[in-house]
Structure formats: C-alpha cells, structure tokens
Symmetry: D3
Subunit: 248 residues, 6 copies
C-alpha cells in the first residue's frame, strides 16, 4: 500500500535535503527540506548569557520558531501583528531549545548564548521535528565557527540529536507524516532521540482517539528507525567536519 | 526504601482528597489535594460557543490554568501584571483542554461551552496532572447540573480520565513526584489515560539525561497503575451520581 | 426588620472567620471569610525594595488583588488572558496597599518589600474590605516570621487596621453589605480605620442617588462600630502573638 | 495667615476661568483654569452606545483623562508610549465618568454616547476636580448642540455638578490645594457635589496621617462652600443658555 | 482664483502665530497656529542620554507626537487606550526627530536629551510640518534656558529648520494645504529645509495619481518659498534671543 | 572608479534575479535577489475586504514586511517576541502597500483583499525597494491565478511599478546602495516609479548632511534610470504572461 504523497512504505521518511551556509551572516545557517516542508535554521553566537546565568561561567542555548504567514495552505496572521506568540509557537520553541540543549555541554561554551532561529518558509507537516534536525547541523556549524575563531577549543557536544513524527492514520502506523496524513491522524507523536538511541523527549496525543500502550510502543520503534536515518543524513551533511567529532 | 516525603513505595500515590462543591457559584467546583498540592477546579457552563463552531450544533470545552503568586516556595509575578501568559501556562492549559475534551461527546452538549478553571493555591509538584484529575470531577458535576436543568438529557461522557506524573530520580522509577523529587528528576513524564486504559497524552522529557526505551516503557506501566487508583478515587467521589454513569 | 441574608440588625456584621497558616509557603497566609465572601490573603517577604527606594534604608509594602474567574455568579474573563488589569482591580490594589502602609513603620522593615496578595475565591460583596482586614493578619504573621528569623527586632507596626462597607438600601443604612444588598444600594461607602479610631481612607459614591451630608455622617458612625468589631476579631485571631504587641 | 500661592484665606478658591468654544470641532469644548491648573475638556457626541446597552433605548457617558507629558514640573512618560494606562489615570477617568453620569438623564439621550475628554495641559494640583467642573460645562454645550440639531428636545440634566479638593496641611484645613500644598498635605480629600448640595462622591485618604472624624466633617463643610462657588462660576459661564435650564 | 479657506494665492501660507512660554514648566513651550491648526510644542531637558549613547560625551534629541482625541472633525480613539502607537504616529515622531537633530550640534549638548513633545489640540491639515516649525522655536528656548543655567556655553545649533506641505489639487499646485484641500489632493508632499535652503527631508506621495518629475520640481520650488517665510516668522518670534545667534 | 562591492559604475544596479513560484501555496510567490539582498514576496488572495470597505464592491491590497532575525550582520530581536512592530517596520509596510495599490484597479478586484508578505531572508541594503519590485511580480501572478480561476476577467492593473534607492556617498551620487554604502551615505533616497515614468513616492533624508536641490534632482534622474532597468527585469520574468498585459 502506498502513502498519500506517493511514498511506498509506512516506515519511510520523505526525501531529506540539508543545505549548509544557506544565508551569509549567521554563524551556522541551514535550509532543511523534508519533502515539501522547508525550514531555515540559523544559529547565532552572542557574547553574553541571560541574567539568571551571569557569572556562572557557563553558556546557554535558546530557540525561536516562526512560520511565514503563507507557509501554509491558508494565510496565517503574523504573530508580530497580533502582538503575542500563540501557545503553539511557545510549545515548539521550548521543545526545540530543550532538544538541542540536551546534547550540548553548556559549560564548554563559556558565557555565550547560541540563538537558534527556525523559520518555516513552507509547511507540509513535521515542521517542529524538521526544525530540530536542521538546527542541529546549524548549531554544529556555529561551534565550528567558534573553534576557528579561538572562542572554544573543542566541540561542546555530547551527541547527535534529531526528531521525527509518527502517527496512526486509518489503523496504519506511519513515519514522518505529511500535512494531509497529519490532519487525518488519530494519534500524533513526536520523538526526539540522540545518536546513541536514548529518548530526549516524547510527546504523543490521541485527543480524539485514545490509543493503546501496544500501539504506542510500536510507534516508538518506528520513530527510532526514522531518527537513525535522519542522523545518518546529518553525519553526511557534516562530513567535512568529521575531525571535530573525534572526541565525541 | 522510603521516599523524601515519607511514602514507603516508589509506585505509591500521595494521599488524594477530592472535595466537591468547594465554592458556591460554579456549576461544578472541586478542591483536589494530592499531598500538599492543592488545586481549585471550577467548571462553568456558558450558553454559546466560540466563533469557529457557531451554527454547527456542537459544544466546546476549554481550560485555563493559573497559580496564586505564592502557591510556591518563592513568589511568582502574576501573569495579569506581566500582561501575558508564560509558555508554561499555555502548554498546561492546552494539555488540560485536550485531556478533558477527549472523553466528552461534544455533540451532546449542544451549542454550549464548558470553561474549566484550574487555580493552584498550593504547589508541591504535579499541579497539571492534579488539575486534570480534579477538573474531571468538576466537569461531571457541571454535566449533572445541566441534566437537572433540562439542558441535556444524559451525560455527554465517553469515559473517565485522569493524569499522573512519573519520573526517574537517582535511578529509581517513581510515581507521583512531589516538588523535591521533581526538581531532582532526570526524567519527568506525564501520562493522561482513560478509564479503559487507553493513552490520551504522553509527554516525557529527559533534557539533561536522555533515557532508554526500556525505562520509558517501565514508567508507562507505573503511571498506568497510578491512574487506575486515581480513577477509583474519582468514582468514589462521584458515587452519588452513579446512576448517571449507567449509559457509559 | 431582617436583612436579605437573614441578619437581624442593620448594623450587624456577617459572621467573620479568620484562618491563619492557610497555605504553607507564604510567610503569612490567611483565609478570611465574611459570610460567603472568601479571600486568601498571603504576605510574602522579599529582600529588596523597588528601584525608587534603593539605598534609603527603608522598606516597602505593595498589594495585588484578583478574583478567580468563577468567584462570582457569572464567570469573568481572566485578567491574565486579557493581558491587562481592569480599572477596578487597579483601584482596589492601590487601596489595599495604602491601607496597610498607613500602619506600618517602613523604616523598621529595612530594605525589604512585603507583597500582599489578596485572591478572592468566592465573592458575596465586600471583597476589598475583607481583603484589607484579612491581609492585616497575614502581614502581622509575616512580621512575626521576620522577628523569629532575626531580620527585624520588633513589630514595625503603628496600629491595627480594618475596613468595612456601609450603604443605603431602600432608605435603610446598612453595615457590611452582601452582594444582593450591594447591587441594590443607592449609596456605597468603604471606610478604612485604625485601632485608635482614626480614618485612613473613606470612599463613598452615590452615582445614581446623591446623598445628604447627614446620611454620610451617620454611615461613618455605623462603619466605625463595625470596624471596632473587626479589629476585635483580628486581636483574637492573633492572641498567641500578644507579646509582640506590647510595645505597640 | 496667607497661603503658599498668595491666597489670603484657607477656604478660598483659586481664580477660576472658564472659556467655552475653546476648540472648533467638539460639540462642547471648554478650557478651565483654576489658578495654574489648565484642562481642556471636550465633549463629543457619538451616535451609538457600548455593546452592553444596545437596544435599550438609553444613552451613555464615558470619560477619559490624560496629561501632556510636560504638564508637570518633571516630564512624564506618555501612556501611549508605555502601552497602558496607569492605575491613577484609570481611577480618575472612572471618577469623572461617575460624577457626570450622576446628573445626566441617560434615557433622554437616546442611543448615543457622550465622550468626555479631559486633557491637562498644565498641572498645579486639583486636576481631577477641575476636570469634573469644566467637563460639566462642555457637556451642557454638547447637549445644547443636540437640541439645536433636533437630536433631543430638552436638557437631559438633573442638576449641576462640580468638584473640589480639600486637605490638611500643618494642621490647617485648606480648600482647593495647589501642588505645593498638596504635596505637603497630611490628608487629601476630593468631594463631588450637586447643585442641590448632595454628595455624589467623597474620597479621602490620610495614608501617612490618619485623621479624626471631626476633621473629616469640617473638611466636608469647607468643600461644600467651595463647590457652591464653583457652581456659581458654571452658571455664569452658561448664562446664555439660561432658558435651557428652565425645566431643571 | 481663491483657495477653499479664502486665501488668494496658491503659494500663500496660512496665517502663522507663534506664542512662546505657552505653559510654565517646560524649558521651551510654544503654541504654533497655522490657520486653524494648533500644536503645543514643549521642549524638555533631561540630564541623561539613551543607553546606546552613554559615555560618549554627546547628547540626543527625540520627539513624540500626539493628537487630542477631538482635535479632528471625528473623535479618534486615544493611542493610550489602544495600547499602541499607530503607524502614522510613529512615522511623524521619527520625522520630527530627524528634522530637528539635523540642525543640532549634539556634541555641544553634553550628555543630555532634549524631549520634544508635539501635541495637536486642533488639526486642520499640516500638523506634522507645523510641529517641526514650532518645535524649533521651543527647542531654541530650551537651549537659551541651558545657557542661562550654565549647562552649555553657546547655542548648539547649526541652522534654522522649518517644514511645510505642498500638493496638487485639481491641477493646481498649492502651498500649505488645509484639511479640505489635503483630502482632495492628488499629490501630497512635505518638505523640511534649513535656513540655508538645503533639503533635510522630502516625502511625497501620489498613491492615487502618480505625478511627473516636472511637477515634483515645481512643488519643491513652491515649498522652498513657503519655508523661507516660515523661517522669517521663527526669526521674528525669537528676536529677543538674537544675540545668541551671532555665532551661527 | 569602482564601487565597494565591485560594481564599476555609480549608476549601476546590482545583479537582479527574480524567481517565481518560490513556495507552493501562495497564489503568487517570488524570491527577488538584488546582489546579496534576498526577499521572499508572497501574494495571497482573501475573499473579503476590511471592515471599512464592506459592501462597496471594491477590493483592497495590504502589505506586511519583516526580516528574519539573522537576515543582518547582528541578530535582531523578533518583533513577535517584542510584542510590537517597530516604527521602521510600520513605515515600510505602509510604503509597500501604497506603492502597489497605486497601480492596481481596486474596483476590478471585487470584494477581495490581496495580502503582500515581504520577508527578508538576507539583507544587504535596499530591502524595502527590492520588496516593492519583487512583490509586483508576485502580485501579477496572484492576478493570473484569479483569472485562471474565473474570479476576475482581466488584469486589474494600471501600470508596472518598481523602486530603487539612490544616495550620496563621499560626494558620489550612487544607484542601488549596498549596506556598506548605505551606512556611509550622507543622503539616502528611495524612489517608487511607474512604467510610464511617473513618480508614486519619493522619500529622501539628509539627517546629518542637508543636500541641495540640484543634487536632489540629479538623484531622481539616476533613480529613474535604475527603475527602467528593474521594470525590464520584471517584464522579462513575466514574459509567459505577456498576453495578459495586452489591454494594459
């Protein structure tokens, strides 16, 4: 049986494309494409930390997330025009920040902040997980920049991290849902996982269709498979930085 | 081995106390106490629905969540004074809304909105899960009020719903973490489950300590045990309404 | 002639109940009940003062006031959701602050701020005056805490303070109006008075029915009688702290 | 003994000047000067009522109050730049609205709103009471405009209304305090009164110096004398409209 | 051919009246009247500079602009009530600030800020250009105040500056448009110019009727003529300060 | 003499690249590149008009403008995070809207709104003028979409429109300034012009260096030359739509 967007298998990722140095000013800049979902992930290095961390000799990483108004089928009102972030945006920016911080050794950063900006220019499902996967690569580039500029000596990194969505649509357990699948899903779950296969974050909801423990465990297994492939994509995209990972 | 707050077992809930009719105006009003965590859960019936649902003949349920400034060890700035909801508050109010809507038959409500207000007057960990568990009882009371006043004919309810937290502290897998445990937890997970044992929502994070799939599955099992006990508490608290549940 | 809520006399207070240590974290925590009006009054000690007082060696006290959305017959929209305080809330928080500051010796506090949080959980008229009366007791408890912890040596207190409402309903001059009386009142007045019988604040309005000087003076006399009784309630609630008041 | 601004008597008003038709667009436009306090009071007629009054066949009156940033000795930050009204502004705008509504027959207005805008261009104490006194005249002019334009048939007015401040400075009881007196006052009271001598609003505060009932009563007497003089000024300013007041 | 407001010539200014010392607290205070357009321009001296200039030994000048709600034919909602500045207000306040800064020698000011507040009390077209022309005079008075108080030694001024509007109405090229002309204009242009005849700012728009280069150049010539007359008015208003301009 | 970014002539545009159909959902979607300045211009068709135009049978066009936080050398705070638009953003969005509306026949649109979203992903000077030039092409594509879908019958277009910046740097008059030139410019001017060579908008400022009329006229001539080339680029980009322009 084939998927609505033409994929052949339920546990198949969409085509992944990771373009580094997408814009010229950011210390790390990545365009990640997962099928028709496209996100610009910029990593910026700032020479200070938030108030609550000053003087502690450690760094910080924080993320922001936004969609262009017409990234979607219908135009959304700009949050800047509304004057506040929606609850959804706040959830996603917090999720991205937690996911990336989980693999960063903040003490090795010094008193610096890495700002991760994920701006969705086209949305076809899975924008938050694509943001995490792409932002990881931009973050590594910003670390490489810091090494090149003698700000730090080695990668302040504990592991890789990537994320993917899984869900149940018409009793089928699917990996990496596109928007059409997502809007028909009974269960929608996002998994964030490290290169070693440990879970950083799991969020699953079956608001209209509660789901069994058995299905949950199966979904986790499918997501794990997808994340392994995504991390392989990240490794490949970063292969010119391979020497930096030696100490990892 | 005993817990930091004196509990004997890792899979033991704190003492649960559910007081109905806690305030006099709300159609449903519950004070839920889970150890030292205390939340007022009020359910209000409003004779209209949000704009996006008008004319569709169905109802809606929405939740809000807040803490008194001194519900916690240190005083928090009031969100009304800041002029906006924090990201944490928005996540929690959305979670409570999804959890309760998942067991309500919105079509049977008619064009009415149930407002769930969860106000934490004392916080010792697990305020969002206590809010869900207590709000369920307040919601049932508001439905009983609607039946008594001939607004609806039967309980617009598909199942019970309750929620609990689990986590890993010093390699111990614990049920229903109090604040001291929570702030030392490597892994923190919330589970929302129905009376039939299906999962509505799972949210787990190991920001500083990624965790294995095996531990995740064990935590789910422990949480499931806790939720069964919580639903038993809900049933007991509502035993004078037992005839309403016949059709359930 | 009897009152709408069953009281026998026009100059009769509702039943007053003052519960200390109502929540466990605040340095002073009181639940005050005046008939069906119920307010949680928490006093928090903070080790700093606002910007405009820094370096002057004196303290400050500020108050905030809020109602749970369903403290009233109809649900009110949360001010945190609206993103701003209503004019009514601002008036009341300023009134409570002025009333309490009038009896505190701010210089004896050192560079500390006392935060008074009055949260109405059930409203049946007179919430602002009950807030002042209850908050006074919470404030004294926070002072006792400061003495016990060697932050100050003696009560920084000049006098007791309490407040009550009076009004004219159908030509009757009434003390301590409940909501039903209040909503029918032609004249509505709040009086804040010290233990010595001096006036700190008087606010009276007859928007729809201007009133004579003679009636105003009579209302003041009735309010004075009520405040004396309220202060007796405060003294009784605080009788274990009686030795602290010696120097008063 | 003479006053700080050269007045001879404690119960003496400052010089009052009322200029009608001060600006050309408003249906009523008054510049009121009380000594160095100068307020532009504009009354605007709008052909609709707020949502809560629609379809009830009655009108509404609402007031706004603001100060130019440099109306005062030191420049104040604009509320439009801060993005919100201060608590003080909200109190004053509500007070002005209540004071004027108390003498208007809202049912005779039809479904119209009178907007009262009081903009202080120079502040030397007593801006809120000058606003009320001046706005009354602007309001009458807007009613005259409505009669001339066949919107209403007669003055929708029950009485005159004016306001004044009184206070205690160095044990002297003073009428109409200028800023220098006001900032040294132990007691500060504002009285709003009708032409018939009834009280609409009294607000008195002795935050730092509680005051006796006797002094309060004396202050009311002094204020009453001042208000009678202010109403004489209003009558004189409006003498070309004398025939309109016949039915009053 | 005569203009809609009775002026005889297309290149004729309205009657200009500049009243200095209009209010008593501001270091410079001017009421400028251009026909029926009336703007209060206050200049305030503040002993500090914005954050981005601290420690650089130079000063700053910033402007704010507002209209009274009933400065216009129809009442406008107050920006303070809306909680934000409109785009139009922001454009105008930035324009006024740039115009005045262009002739001020900020280094001679020392670390001080000049706040320019332009408050329109009556609007009949050309409020932004009248604000610039009037604010220049208020600014000079604030500099004179600083010299008198030994804060600076000489006028920190490079030149005069004034502004005027021009436009095309029914193929006529007009100087200094009143509101009725402005609302019928096909082209609307504002010019800010120095005493030496150099351009500081030009803003022209023909949204509904694009205009030729030739007409643009003619409009600039007409505006130049008007600005020369306005600067003559400024010189005359300031003639008692003539000795200050010697070094200019 | 050569330019800082390697261009040979002062009146030379940077390389222009216009990519249509850049994202897949918008009715018109263009990436415009002017040298290193890159802007996504999306045009969205909405089937309604703002409140003030309802029932008048005509359409509307409105624009929004934003920059990705790291479009620039240093990271900017997101306006959505600040909760309000800066004055600069408001000026630009109003400018873009006026520029495009000037060539659209709003009556032919029917009661529809065209939303123009200009999102700068990389900024090297001239972002507002590039936005106008690119948005024109996106807008035409959205009109073509409307024709294809039988919403309108012909292009509701009166002319082409494009915009460019000019300025004076070290006495050289330059066309199409890059960021490095712009930040050293004494004079900065933007011109919006139609295909027929008429001016829609001119904005020039010499805040720190007032400029002569003669230089202004020369700058206009240089800008006119640039705009003609930009319109040639637009024509070429749209050459598959050439038949639509027949009636133009």
């Amino acid at each position: 049986m084939s998927r609505v967007d033409g994929r052949e298998r339920n546990d198949q990722l969409r085509e992944i494309k990771i373009t580094r140095n997408f814009t010229k000013y950011a210390e790390g800049s990545v365009l990640i494409e997962a099928g028709d979902t496209k996100v610009i992930c910029n990593a910026s290095v700032q020479d200070s930390v938030p108030y609550f961390l000053r003087g502690q000799g450690q760094g910080w990483l924080t993320a922001e997330y936004s969609m262009l108004p017409r990234a979607t089928q219908d135009r959304n009102v700009r949050e800047a025009a509304k004057g506040k972030l929606t609850g959804r945006t706040q959830e996603i920016k917090r999720l991205i920040g937690r996911a990336l911080r989980s693999v960063v050794d903040l003490e090795k950063l010094g008193e610096r902040t890495i700002w991760i900006d994920c701006d969705v220019i086209q949305a076809d499902g899975g924008t938050r997980t694509a943001s995490i996967t792409g932002a990881f690569v931009a973050m590594v580039d910003s670390f490489a920049y810091m090494i090149d500029n003698n700000m730090i000596k080695e990668l302040p990194l504990k592991d890789f991290v990537a994320a993917v969505s899984v869900g149940i649509v018409d009793d089928e357990l699917l990996l990496d849902l596109c928007y059409k699948e997502d809007s028909n899903a009974h269960v929608d779950m996002n998994l964030v996982m490290t290169g070693k296969g440990d879970i950083i974050e799991v969020q699953g909801t079956g608001e209209e269709n509660p789901f069994s423990k058995e299905n949950m465990f199966k979904l986790i297994d499918i997501a794990e498979k997808g994340i392994k492939e995504l991390i392989a994509h990240q490794r490949k995209a970063l292969e010119d930085k391979v020497e930096l990972f030696k100490g990892e």
